[in-house]
Symmetry: C3
Subunit: 159 residues, 3 copies
């Protein structure tokens, strides 16, 4: 009898390259039959945003945050070499040339592999994000649920 | 007989939002009866600084570093959307509206829950920080002590 | 019979201070007889670059990336307080004064302690880095090899 291994990633960062790293590790672990969860918190929540604008009842402050943050995975910036937006374009060009998957495809692959995509409800509230704005596959939980998974996890990472 | 679980967080970052994430996880884990340690190193040491200036015998270089770094948790900046200081003010406003705890309160709560707040002595030396400048509850240790805790830990994170 | 403990660090960041933290932890863990691996991916690959320019057959885009990225450990910038290059100089001055090891020495020490320095082949491809450009001691692997190590690891960190 083999025990199922588990990988639990906190995705805090809103950087395109860091989110790529998170989803590449998650997809790899799922391929090796790990139970995998990505817990999206703070700026990492932006990876789960739908790319169309959603009608939502928000305060002025929440609207401001909503506008300032990227809407969906492919709008996120790089952690390094941003160069006024040239960096993300360059890296996507290179990725295409090398047949590397863009983040949006990595996320879809994770959904197909039953990776648990969890949104941190506390920081959603803080940033004024509503459920209607996030992908349909999103699950909702708090830090307690994360800890319950991670305390018996094999690979726990904060990205 | 249940074994005590343990959570060991290295707080390297000097960003307000990352320090919040570290302390929210630490407080959650402490509430679930984990033995919890936050090992503050490099810029993460700033979270432990007292907010009043401390009379200390320093070299010119150490004084420069001391002035350039934020004095205490509530002076730290955001990892994203800094916008010339507008970001931290905005997020604190939103936090207040949602009754979220500011970092200073999260640190006090951690102290009350007996979370071990450890300062890395090697990087204190490097940045010219002295014990008198840090919170009274601070413990002092090096990377060996961190490893001794983490090698049997359940949730190990680098933030 | 004691089981060998293991430490597995993903070095994603290209920041001098974060790379220092990774190598300090790695060297500490090796001293405590852990099996230690640093898996260099994305900007973390720059820590393994040789400091002299290497003749390589590259496309224009790859050449551009190669020029924009730091060539070797001592050319990397700080995550905080960069101040137009003043930060790294200042911190190296302070490090020298405190007899702290610069990153290049920490990497050599890791090699002497048989720390596995692994380069992520997928991101090498993405950034157009070739084996001839990296240190002789470098090992080459992908995310599957990382997961095989980390799933039984004791201290797993993403830096």
């Amino acid at each position: 009898m083999t025990e199922t291994k588990s990988t639990n990633i906190i995705l805090f960062s809103g950087d395109y390259d860091k989110a790529m790293a998170a989803y590449i590790i998650a997809n790899g672990a799922a391929a090796y039959d790990h139970e995998v969860t990505i817990f999206h918190t703070f700026w990492g929540l932006n990876a789960l945003r739908k790319d169309e604008p959603i009608q939502a009842n928000k305060t002025m402050l929440e609207k401001m945050f909503g506008k300032m943050m990227p809407r969906g995975a492919e709008k996120m910036g790089l952690s390094k070499m941003h160069f006024a937006g040239m960096g993300p374009k360059l890296i996507k060009k290179v990725m295409k040339k090398h047949n590397a998957m863009p983040l949006a495809d990595l996320i879809e692959m994770a959904e197909e592999q039953d990776v648990n995509l969890v949104a941190c409800t506390m920081t959603m509230d803080l940033l004024g994000l509503q459920k209607a704005e996030l992908r349909e596959s999103t699950q909702y939980a708090g830090v307690a649920a994360y800890l319950a998974d991670a305390e018996d996890g094999n690979v726990n990472l904060f990205i």
